[in-house]
């Protein structure tokens, strides 16, 4: 019966297909990260000569009265609400004791045209702790690895909605889980949310060069190792919008750029 031999072949074919699917599943698992091939090198990478490089530093001051911080009701997630005995508040406007504004994303908007910078290999970290994102505002360079970590013992799903890069939506059901992602295209700013805990919010600023900073508890920022030239730098705040400023950096000079946001 030559027929039977053929059926055997079909059988083998079936088994092979099974294996292919299995391995394919493997590839899928690996590629589902949606990592893009590094488009950082549009040409050869620009070298910044430390001998001439200068820097921009400054402060983001805040005037007027900050709005009352909004209380978050976390009763839905007991594990979290316990962590905030006197209530958890949103981080929309955080004014430091020294009258400066935190969570402001400052970056070089123009002046670096034609220069390309290799993405740093060390990853930026977006952590999820007690139903909050840490940091609340994160700056990364295009194609720089971003490690998203879940430090809570329950499910978060990370659901950024970028315009220029591909949006993604992943779940992290377990404490200590980490997922690495990259954003191939510059964008100010990418909102990040968690559908399980509606109050969770973070912003990621993606720029195609290393000259960016986020103001912290002292409201100051610094953009070091900047080649001499004329720059426009911009400061972004989720409530008070953006401010621009033109700065000229001479050889080995340290220019200062202080911003001031006004509350109501």
């Amino acid at each position: 019966m030559p027929l039977r031999r053929i059926y055997l072949w079909m059988l083998c074919l079936g088994i092979i297909m099974l294996l292919v699917v299995a391995c394919g599943g493997g590839d899928e698992g690996a590629s589902a990260g949606g990592d893009e091939a590094g488009s950082g090198g549009g040409g050869d990478v620009t070298e910044v000569d430390p001998a001439t490089a200068g820097k921009i530093s400054g402060k983001v001051n805040f005037e007027g009265t900050a709005p009352e911080p909004e209380l978050i009701d976390m009763s839905a997630e007991a594990t979290c609400s316990e962590k905030y005995p006197d209530g958890a508040y949103t981080e929309k406007v955080v004014v430091n004791d020294n009258g400066t504004l935190a969570n402001v994303f400052v970056y070089v908007k123009s002046g670096l045209e034609g220069k390309t910078f290799a993405p740093p290999s060390e990853a930026a970290v977006l952590d999820q702790v007690d139903c909050h994102y840490i940091p609340h505002v994160l700056g990364v360079q295009t194609n720089q690895p971003v490690v998203i970590r879940n430090s809570d013992p329950f499910l978060h799903n990370i659901h950024p909605q970028p315009q220029n890069s591909r949006p993604f939506n992943i779940g992290q059901p377990k404490q200590g889980m980490e997922t690495e992602k990259t954003f191939p295209a510059a964008e100010i700013m990418i909102p990040v949310g968690c559908d399980v805990h509606g109050w969770m919010a973070a912003y990621i600023g993606v720029v195609d060069h290393p000259y960016f900073a986020v103001t912290g508890s002292d409201g100051s920022f610094e953009l070091p190792n900047l080649p001499p030239g004329d720059y426009t730098i911009e400061a972004w705040h989720e409530e008070y919008g953006v401010q621009e400023m033109n700065v000229t950096v001479g050889e080995q000079q340290s220019a200062t750029a202080d911003f001031t946001f006004r509350g109501t």
């Binding site: 009763s75 329950f154 779940g171």
Partner: protein, 219 residues
């Protein structure tokens, strides 16, 4: 067994119907399987034995068509009243606590009418996410809807389940008979957080309820 407890007015009826169906089907089950196994042993192949030559019997066919037929039909009719009570005859909104419940990936948002006694106005009292309070021994009508995809409002101890559909508002009613905190389950696949779309129903005395409402209103 936490889940077998029933705290709703019509829950007992549902349970009794469940029991009834269980008995009917249970009897049928043991009858059929028993006969099957008996025949299996009794009539297994023995040398020289020959099967009986028959193509059936009209009388028995009629018997075992008509009897189960009536049983099944009766079973159906017997369920009508309970179904009507749960899904069709809702108590009058005037003497019921009315609230709105909106489901969204993966949270439940409840709201209570404010001073104007109207839902959907801007003085509505919003309840914290995934938290619902209702008074005990009072009919409650939930205006159920969804914002994004299908969800399902399922309270096992109340024996009530209703899909929440975006673009449609479906009234769901129940009357809780015992104070306590009970789990609300999402029973319709709604995305990767479906398995955690959990909320809590607090049944409390009228006074506690009003106090809580006032506290929420104050915020």
């Amino acid at each position: 067994m936490g889940v077998f407890e029933n705290v709703s007015t019509y829950g007992a009826q549902v349970d009794s119907l469940y029991l009834l169906v269980l008995i009917v089907t249970g009897v049928a089950f043991f009858l059929v399987e028993g006969v099957l196994i008996y025949f299996l042993i009794r009539y297994r192949h023995r040398e020289g034995h020959r099967a009986m030559y028959t193509h059936g019997n009209r009388r028995v066919e009629i018997v075992w068509t008509v009897i189960p037929g009536f049983m099944l039909f009766g079973l159906a009719v017997y369920q009508y009243s309970a179904w009507t009570q749960i899904k069709i005859d809702r108590p009058n909104e005037a003497e019921a606590v009315v609230l709105s419940l909106e489901a969204e990936q993966f949270e439940w948002y409840a709201a209570y009418p404010g001073s104007d006694g109207e839902l959907g106005t801007d003085d509505d009292i919003g309840s914290p996410v995934n938290v619902i309070h209702v008074p005990v021994n009072q009919p409650v009508i939930i205006r159920l809807t969804a914002r994004d995809v299908l969800h399902s409002f399922f309270v096992p101890v109340l024996r009530i389940k209703q899909d929440a559909i975006p673009g449609t508002t479906i009234p769901v009613w129940f009357e809780a008979t015992q104070p306590g905190e009970y789990e609300i389950v999402c029973a319709e696949l709604c995305g990767l957080g479906h398995y955690r779309m959990r909320a809590f129903l607090t049944v409390e005395s009228e006074t506690e309820f009003q106090a809580w409402l006032a506290e929420m209103a104050a915020r």
